[in-house]
C-alpha cells in the first residue's frame, strides 16, 4: 500500500507518484511547493484548504467536479490571469490569488 503524504493545512492527500520534480508557486503571496504534472487545483489544495471565495458570502470553495464542468475552481493570477485550476497544469512561478478583487477594480491600470 502506498504511503499517504499530507501537508499540514492541505486538503488533498498524495497517495503516490511523489517522485516528481518540485514546482514553486505562491498562493496569496505564500510560497508553496507542488509537483510537476500537478493541476493547479491539486497544487493549491495539497497546500491549503481552498481555491477561492464565493462571490455571495457563503464561504470558501475548493472546486467540485475536477473535469471542467462546474466552473467552481476559477482562480486569478497576480498578473490578471484567469485559470480554471482543474484543467490548468501548474507552472513554476505562478502567483495564485484566492481572494475576490477589491471593489476598486475598475480603477486598476
Amino acid at each position: 500500500m502506498p504511503s499517504a503524504t499530507a501537508i499540514p493545512g492541505g486538503r488533498f492527500v498524495r497517495l503516490g507518484e511523489t517522485a516528481r520534480r518540485a514546482v514553486h508557486l505562491t498562493v496569496d503571496g505564500r510560497p508553496v511547493t507542488a509537483l510537476e504534472g500537478d493541476t493547479l487545483l491539486v497544487a493549491v489544495l495539497a497546500n491549503g484548504g481552498h481555491l477561492r471565495h464565493s462571490e455571495f458570502g457563503d464561504g470558501v470553495r475548493s472546486g467540485f467536479c475536477l473535469m471542467g464542468a462546474c466552473q467552481d475552481c476559477w482562480v486569478r493570477g497576480a498578473g490578471g490571469e484567469r485559470w480554471r485550476a482543474c484543467s490548468t497544469p501548474v507552472a513554476e512561478g505562478m502567483a495564485v490569488l484566492t481572494q475576490l478583487p477589491e471593489a476598486t477594480w475598475p480603477r486598476r491600470d
Binding site: 462571490e55 466552473q71 476559477w74 490571469e81 478583487p101 471593489a103 476598486t104 477594480w105 480603477r107
Partner: protein, 403 residues
C-alpha cells in the same frame, strides 16, 4: 388586497368574459396598462399567449434611460422614470431598479459636440445632463479605454431587471383585480354590437379558451402587433430582430451607471451595466435573427465575438472577465423606427401600443400608464407625437389597391 397563492390561473373553459377593456399582450406595456387601468377603476382582461413579460420586455438590456431619446418623447420618458422610482410603493417590489445613472460615451469629437447640444436641448424637459471630457470620465470611473473621448451623464436614470419587471406588473395587475390569462392566445377579434369579441385558444389544454368581450381593446403585442392591426385594415411595416445579449461572471459591485456608446457605426455599438450581484450585462451592435412565427430568436456567435472586442475597447478593465451566458428575444422594428401608439385611425375603441424598435423597456410603464389614461379619459398628458398608426395610411391604401 392580497395575492392568492400559486401560479396565475390558466384559462380552461370556453365562456364569455366581459370587461371594460381587453389588453392583448402581456409584455411590460400590456401588463402595466392593465395595472394602471385597474387603478383608474376600469375592469380589465389581460390576454397573454405565453407568460407575462416573457418576450422582448423580458429579454432586453434593462436600460431605464431618458437620455438620447427624441426630445418629443421626453415627457413620456419622464413619466415612466417616475413610475420606476415608485415601484416598491406600487407593486411591493423594485424589479432591481437602480437609480445609479445612465452614462453615454463616445469615440468621436463630432459625437461629443452632439452630447453638449443634446444637454442644452433636453434641459427644458427637466432632464439634467452632465457632459464631461475624457479626463473627468477616467477620474470618476477609471474603467475607460483610450479611445473614449467624452461622456454625458444622466445622474438619476438607471437600470432594472427585465426578467422581473413585466411579471411584477402582471402580478400587480392581478392583485388590483385584473383578469390575467396566461397561455391564452388570441385567435381572432370580431366587432359585435360596438364591442370587441375576442376568440382565444388555451395553450395548456389545446382547446378553445374563453371568449372575451369589451368595448375597448388595447393591442400591446410587440413584434406581433401587425396581426390585429392588419385585421382591422391598418397594416404596419414591422419586422422582428433579436437583441444580442450577454452576461459575464460577477465581480464586486463597483460600476454605478448603465454605460453605452453613442455612435453612427452599428458595429461599434455597445452598452453594459453591472447588477448589484456583480455580473456585467451587455448588448449592442448588429441584431440577430428573430422568428416571430416560431417564437425563436438567436444570438449569432460572430456578434458575440464582436461584442467582446467592443467591450474591451470601451472598458479594458473588463478584459479579464468571462462571458457566461448569451440570449436574445423578439423585438418589433417599425420601418420608420418609431412606435405605433395611440388610437386606431379606423376603429373606435381600438388602441395600439407596439413596435418599440428595441427602446420600449424604459418607457414601458409610462406607456402603460398613459394608455390607461387615454382609454379612461380620452386624452393623455403625455401624447405621442409622430407615433399614430395613421401615418401608414398611404402604404395601407397602396396595399389595398395592389390587392
Amino acid at each position: 388586497m392580497s395575492a392568492p397563492p400559486g401560479p396565475m390561473p390558466i384559462a380552461a373553459t370556453p365562456e364569455t368574459l366581459r370587461a371594460d377593456v381587453i389588453v392583448v399582450g402581456g409584455g411590460l406595456v400590456g401588463a402595466s396598462a392593465a395595472f394602471f387601468l385597474r387603478r383608474r377603476g376600469l375592469s380589465v382582461i389581460l390576454l397573454e399567449r405565453g407568460l407575462v413579460g416573457q418576450q422582448a420586455s423580458g429579454t432586453n438590456f434593462g436600460n431605464v434611460r431618458r437620455q438620447g431619446r427624441a426630445l418629443a418623447q421626453l415627457p413620456l420618458a419622464a413619466r415612466a422614470r417616475d413610475i420606476w422610482g415608485q415601484l416598491p410603493a406600487l407593486l411591493d417590489e423594485d424589479a432591481e431598479f437602480l437609480d445609479s445613472g445612465h452614462l453615454r460615451v463616445c469615440y468621436s469629437e463630432e459625437q461629443a459636440e452632439d452630447f453638449a447640444r443634446y444637454a442644452v436641448d433636453a434641459r427644458p424637459y427637466g432632464l439634467a445632463l452632465e457632459v464631461m471630457g475624457a479626463a473627468e470620465l477616467r477620474r470618476r470611473y477609471g474603467l475607460f479605454g483610450p479611445e473614449v473621448l467624452a461622456g454625458s451623464l444622466a445622474a438619476v436614470d438607471g437600470h432594472a431587471n427585465p426578467r422581473l419587471a413585466g411579471p411584477a406588473f402582471g402580478r400587480g395587475a392581478r392583485r388590483a383585480g385584473a383578469t390575467v390569462l396566461e397561455h391564452t392566445e388570441v385567435l381572432r377579434v370580431e366587432r359585435e354590437g360596438g364591442d370587441f369579441l375576442v376568440h382565444t385558444k388555451a395553450h395548456v389544454t389545446g382547446g378553445e379558451g374563453p371568449r372575451c368581450r369589451a368595448p375597448q381593446l388595447l393591442v400591446a403585442t410587440g413584434a406581433w402587433g401587425n396581426r390585429i392591426a392588419s385585421a382591422f385594415g391598418e397594416p404596419v411595416p414591422i419586422v422582428a430582430h433579436g437583441p444580442q445579449m450577454g452576461v459575464t461572471e460577477p465581480l464586486p459591485y463597483a460600476i454605478g451607471p448603465a454605460i453605452g456608446v453613442t455612435t453612427k457605426n452599428v458595429a461599434e455599438g455597445m452598452y453594459f451595466r453591472q447588477v448589484k450581484r456583480g455580473n456585467i450585462v451587455f448588448g449592442g451592435g448588429p441584431k440577430g435573427p428573430a422568428y416571430a412565427d416560431r417564437l425563436r430568436a438567436y444570438v449569432e456567435p460572430a456578434n458575440t465575438l464582436n461584442q467582446l472586442q467592443q467591450l474591451r475597447r470601451l472598458a479594458p478593465a473588463l478584459g479579464g472577465l468571462q462571458l457566461i451566458r448569451t440570449w436574445s428575444g423578439i423585438e418589433g422594428y417599425v420601418q420608420d423606427s418609431k412606435p405605433v401608439l395611440g388610437p386606431s385611425a379606423k376603429v373606435d375603441g381600438l388602441y395600439y401600443a407596439f413596435g418599440f424598435c428595441g427602446e420600449g423597456f424604459a418607457i414601458g410603464p409610462g406607456i402603460g400608464d398613459s394608455m390607461a389614461e387615454l382609454i379612461a379619459t380620452g386624452q393623455t398628458a403625455t401624447p405621442y407625437p409622430d407615433s399614430h398608426i395613421g401615418r401608414f395610411a398611404a402604404c395601407q391604401e397602396q396595399a389595398a389597391t395592389a390587392a
